[in-house]
Amino acid sequence: MKPAMARYQCPGCGYTYDEARGDAHQGFAPGTPWAQIPATWPCPDCAVNEKADFVPVGDAVGAEPR
């Protein structure tokens, strides 16, 4: 069984990285795990926060806060 996909949110602007969806524009294919995102990767929407600042959010259900 594959591990559950997690979501991580920028604490400033609300951008959410969802492992199941990835981020096509950033070049992260669907299923790309958080561990594979570069450590210095900045939030693609605000660039104030980096990967280390993101916080895990609940299960990968519900609408993305846009």
Binding site: G27, D45, C46
Partner: protein
């Protein structure tokens, strides 16, 4: 809690779009009166009238309450204004291009009109800035389109992903350092923006397994798909005078952005934290100007402290805070001051020292200072 907030500046925001037609007004007045000096109207307005208006009318302490922000953000009126500003920039460029090619202006009138268009199309970068920070695809596309009018499409990449990440650190070519003149800064900032935009796109496209040279995918190249055919068409339509008009207005437009960058973070420095990273950007890492006249004609650009701490916040919702590093005037007067390094340092260096509580190690200091200037800063720090 009912949200009954009424935005007192609501209708004034339309000025941010409308005043950009000023080069065409000057042109029409010059044409009607035969007085070539009217072609300089936009420059006179920016460098003389706006500083006086900022001084006379002053500051704006009003903030929308947080309960009103979601409603303000949804209100289509505010974004329609930014959308409408995009064709204004194109109209100013094309009409002025036609005019300089078809009317005997003389060198004086020609220079005034060309620089006026450059100043306004420098503000196309302001329009693109407001649009490019937003999360909707429409606004991001309009940002690229409006940046193309002045040939500065790479700003969309470097500003959002580079400048905002590295702001107020020595790593950022768009954050000026204490003791640096604007002329030296420009030599670092202009090529730095291109270089970093390109490498940022190369890295992103490598992850997407696309060629960095693909003009359809590379966001540095995409706006050039508009700029190059547009400028070529203007040369074909209006003749060789475009070979002077277009580069001069574009260069003066770029210079407006360089000047804005120079004044926005001069000397300010984010400190390193325990994990070796820089602290996150807070409002005190940008110089703020809360002058109402220039804020309502610049989509609140001068409320720069909140913008950098919260870059996706829309212009109508940006806030002022107490205790921010404050510019003594709005951007037009500060632009003029920046061109005179002696005067700039006299006004701004004491403010930087005061911001850092006289601790030079907490300031982004130009590394190539002369020994005399460094000694002067040490004396200034010791005296307070």
């Amino acid at each position: 809690m009912g949200d009954r907030y009424v935005d007192g500046k609501r209708w004034a925001w339309a000025l941010s779009s409308i005043w950009l037609c000023l080069p065409l007004v000057g042109m029409a007045l010059a044409s009607a009166t035969g007085v070539a000096a009217w072609n300089w109207l936009t420059l006179a307005f920016w460098y003389l009238i706006l500083p006086i208006a900022d001084y006379a009318i002053g500051s704006d302490g009003n903030n929308p309450p947080e309960a009103a922000v979601a409603r303000l953000d949804r209100d289509p009126y505010y974004r329609i204004l930014t959308y409408l500003t995009v064709p204004v920039h194109y109209t100013v460029l094309v009409v002025a291009a036609w005019y300089v090619a078809s009317h005997p202006l003389g060198g004086f009138g020609f220079l005034g009109l060309t620089l006026s268009v450059g100043l306004i199309n420098g503000l196309a970068i302001n329009t693109g800035h407001e649009l490019g920070h937003k999360k909707t695809a429409t606004e991001r596309w309009l940002a690229k389109i409006v940046l193309a009018v002045v040939g500065y499409g790479h700003f969309f990449v470097e500003h959002n992903r580079g400048h905002h990440r590295d702001v107020a650190t020595p790593e950022d070519p768009a954050s000026a350092r204490l003791g640096e003149t604007i002329y030296r800064f420009a030599l670092r900032e202009l090529p730095g923006a291109w270089r970093r935009a390109w490498s940022s796109e190369a890295e992103r496209l490598a992850r997407r397994q696309r060629s960095r040279w693909s003009p359809l995918h590379n966001e540095v190249l995409q706006p050039l798909l508009i700029t190059v055919p547009l400028y070529a068409a203007l040369v074909v339509a209006f003749g060789p005078i475009m070979l002077v008009f277009l580069p001069v207005q574009a260069a003066f437009g770029w210079w407006q952005l360089t000047t804005a960058n120079f004044i926005e973070h001069y000397g300010l420095l984010r400190q390193r934290t325990g994990d070796g990273r820089y602290e996150r950007c807070r409002p005190e890492h940008s110089w703020n100007a809360n002058h109402i006249v220039t804020n309502v004609i610049l989509f609140h650009l001068q409320r720069h402290s909140d913008h950098h701490a919260n870059p996706t916040r829309r212009y109508q919702s940006l806030r002022n805070f107490d205790g921010l590093p404050e510019l003594p005037s709005g951007y037009p007067a500060m632009f003029a001051l920046a061109y005179l390094p002696w005067a700039w340092r006299r006004v701004m260096d004491p403010r930087v020292l005061a911001w850092a509580r006289s601790d030079l190690s907490k300031i982004n200091v130009h590394p190539a200072l002369s020994a005399a200037r460094r000694a002067r800063y040490e004396r200034m720090a010791a005296a307070t």
